[in-house]
Amino acid sequence: MKMLVCVSKTPETTTKIQLTADKTDLDKGGMQYIMNPYDEWYALVRALELKEAGGGSVTLLNVGPADNDAVIRKGLAIGADDAIRVNSEGGGSLYIAKQIAAQAAGYDIVFFGKETIDYNGSEVGAMVAELLGTAYVGEASKLEMDGSTATITRDIEGGVEVVEASTPLCLSAAKGMAEQRIPNMRGIMMAKRKPLNVVEPVAAPATTEVASYELPPAKSAVKLVEPENMEELVRLLHEEAKVI
């Protein structure tokens, strides 16, 4: 089975977000980057497990500039066979989806994380499925393969749904699909020799742009309530906060 795992580079989860003076961009000075956790922990690891169980190949795909190679190499160190980087500074979700769709022909499963932890869009996987004309299952927490038939558990509001689909298909991986793997020294050494093919983007217009960013308003100081006086907390929640 040929599997493609689409990976994003995102700021590290502990990053404190700061903006440039004109608020049109993030202040990227000193920002540390990682592979988007949903892509790495769940999508990539489940693809590797399926390859270990049934053979095939796992290819990483990233749309981004040369700076992204360190994140891609980490994916190779975890166990992917090879990688493709579409050499581009990006241009919004649909632009990225069109770049992925241009590379995704011939794969049985195209994996995504359920969202990136920076833009929180949860839309690129569904876009690629539409562009390729395949099935799409978002927020999948379990994936089992039997030949070309996938049985997938997907998270829905307050529950789960079990669905069946045939390859080729696109899916986005949520917590539960696999367990995070830490690359070992041998993997890191081997990653340096694995192919990372750089290809040029296809033409596609930007459909959105970020006009400006805003930070949430600062919280006013916490109001402390004596631990013996929970009647007072109830009063405050009712009369002041008006939430009960």
Binding site: T14, A97, N120, A126, G138, I156
Partner: protein, 319 residues
């Protein structure tokens, strides 16, 4: 025209559908046009959506819509938008919406804004919507550059408003493809509001010391009618199920009230909960970073404080 996809669960419309119609009506008013609602499959009381500002309600009843397949639903919504001449499509940013927004944008070659929190600002040709990014650590004002636009609304972002009255339901006939996904089973917890929709949430962290101590959380949640949640270490230790994990890599929530007990407040946890209107933190460590993000704080032993709060709430509820 603004076309709102109002989703029904087991044939019934819930708060998320009322929110999204309210949002569509406000967007239509800002554009000087009308808002119509589209319902799919076998639904009850669809005309009631008129109360929230839909001037017309359409329903497509087709056997292919009995179960959810993103390809079929996206074809239905896009087809309705094209047939009716809608330029803005609005849906909920819930699990269904997350399966659809991208498909619709790709199908219509449209710009999209998933998970918006406010009504669009329209200045001439410029159409800008605000969405949370970095799991709530910042907001982005996103301009959609295309003529056709797809927007999904984050839950609990705007209050539901009644601005009209019930209308008749017109049927609409749509060309639908064959489903590519077959639903084998659907399981929903009965009687519990799912976390992404919950207005009241009670959450426990490592300070609970073990899964056997969750009674104090459950008792408080029960008296409030709240949904229970937990921090990442708790879910990772299998003290609680993974779907209860709130935070940057778990569920992002936006309730009116979030009560966190025994959670120190790591930045990743705050990212998933800082859209809560009111945050109450109970922790025995006065230096816990969560107090800086809280509206109300109780420095004390949660095993004493929570039962006391539960009792006080019982008295309040029966008063």
């Amino acid at each position: 025209m603004v076309l709102v996809f109002a989703e029904a669960t087991n044939g019934k419309f819930k708060k998320a559908a009322h929110e999204v119609v309210t949002y569509g009506a406000k967007t239509a008013a800002a554009m000087g046009t009308e808002c119509v609602a589209l319902t799919l499959g076998d639904v009850q009381d669809a005309g009631d959506l008129g109360r929230f500002g839909a001037s017309k309600v359409y329903n497509a009843a087709d056997a292919a819509l009995a179960n959810f397949d993103s390809g079929v639903f996206a074809a239905a919504i896009a087809g309705a938008a094209q047939q009716l001449g809608a330029k803005v499509i609005v849906l909920s940013h819930n699990s269904t919406g997350k399966n659809l927004t991208g498909r619709l944008a790709a199908r219509l070659d449209a710009g999209s804004a998933p998970g918006v929190k406010a009504v669009p600002v329209i200045e001439g040709d410029k159409f800008t919507v605000r969405k949370a990014v970095f799991s709530g650590k910042a907001f982005a004002d996103v301009s959609i550059l295309t003529d056709t636009k797809v927007i999904s609304l984050a839950g609990n972002s705007i209050p539901v408003e009644e601005s009209g009255s019930a209308v008749g339901v017109e049927s609409i006939s749509l060309d639908l493809p064959a489903p590519m996904v077959k639903v084998l089973s659907t399981k929903r917890a009965e009687g519990i509001t799912p976390l992404p929709e919950a207005e009241l949430v009670v959450s426990g962290g490592r300070g609970l010391k073990g899964p056997e101590n969750w009674g104090v959380i459950n008792d408080l949640a029960e008296v409030l009618g709240a949904t229970t949640a937990c921090s990442r270490p708790v879910a990772d230790s299998d003290w609680r199920p993974h779907h209860e994990h709130v935070g940057q890599t778990g569920v992002a929530i936006h309730p009116n009230l979030y009560i966190a007990a025994g959670i120190s407040g790591a930045i990743q946890h705050l990212a998933g909960v800082n859209s809560s209107k009111t945050i109450v933190v109970v922790n025995k460590d006065p230096e816990a970073p969560f107090f800086k993000a809280a509206d109300y704080g109780v420095v004390g032993d949660l095993f004493e404080v929570l039962p006391r709060l539960t009792e006080a709430l019982k008295k309040f509820k029966s008063a």
